[in-house]
Symmetry: C2
Subunit: 179 residues, 2 copies
């Protein structure tokens, strides 16, 4: 069935190939054969083997894909466990020393930012740069005579990622041209 | 080459198949053919098409795998951004009202626990259950005459996940049998 779909997708006239699994093999056991018949049998054998390989490769592909995606989910989720553990430690310490929690939470925030950078999603909270629609989402336009128009004056919510892999753009305020 | 490796892996005698790409086609242009020759040409064509399909499927597999794994990484990482945003909000509020941060961090801890459960990794911090080497890692053995031996008396560090997908076991204290 997969073979038929793929053939249709490519517009190839290989409908007969799809039925291969149900054909009975034309030769049974060794028989005295002419050169042409031998060649015919050999070619048919090669073809059947290639079709069977194709089927196996497709099945393995689906299994491998599921396994790799699950492994990636576990890897990324597990990377966050220390952040959660530290939140709980900070809360436990807060009962004994309430003033320590702010410092603890600041450290956890930094830990989370480093973690995201390590996964390939560096923080983007730069101001003073030119507005770039790929990395910025404008949430406010401000009048600022001291600033060149279209400059990021303030980051409301930082972005994460790169041009190739962006989790979200930075939400920013941008200077508008003076009317 | 990929075909040769795979054939070797399965112990199939398909070394000749691997060389297919370098063979010149035995028929060139339309020629008056006997029934056997037509059949031969058709079979050869089917076989070559199946081998080409096999090659395409393998190439697409690598690309698709990379794409899906990257998408999963982005999905899981992005799910944690609200946790980080809330940490930053809690810190911002802490400056105005230091007492509010403990409540805020508690809520963020709950948010992180729910997030992990949503990804398929529920929290495991149950006490009073029988020790299970699959979900528990013993870090202490305690004498507790009131408790059945081999019972989890205290969770030192919660575990996350299920039998099928476990991020880490729970680190626990277990009651030992009375000597």
């Amino acid at each position: 069935m997969a073979t038929t779909e793929r053939a249709a997708e490519q517009g190839e006239p290989s409908a007969e190939v799809a039925g291969a699994g149900t054909d009975s093999r034309p030769r049974e056991g060794p028989a005295p054969a002419t050169g042409v018949e031998e060649k015919l049998a050999e070619l048919e054998d090669r073809w059947r083997r290639a079709v069977a390989d194709l089927d196996n490769v497709r099945k393995r592909q689906a299994t491998e894909l599921r396994r790799e995606v699950e492994a990636e989910r576990a890897k990324v989720a597990a990377a966050w466990l220390p952040v959660l553990d530290n939140l709980e430690l900070a809360l436990a310490h807060a009962e004994a020393d309430p003033s320590a929690i702010v410092q603890g939470v600041r450290a956890i925030r930094e830990q989370a930012v480093r973690l995201l950078a390590g996964l390939g999603y560096p923080r983007d909270d730069e101001t003073g740069v030119r507005f770039d629609p790929n990395r910025h989402e404008v949430v406010a336009a401000v009048e600022d005579p001291a600033t060149e128009p279209n400059t990021v004056t303030h980051v409301v919510r930082p972005g994460y990622g790169t041009d190739r892999h962006r989790l979200r753009p930075a939400a920013v305020a941008v200077s508008k041209s003076q009317g």
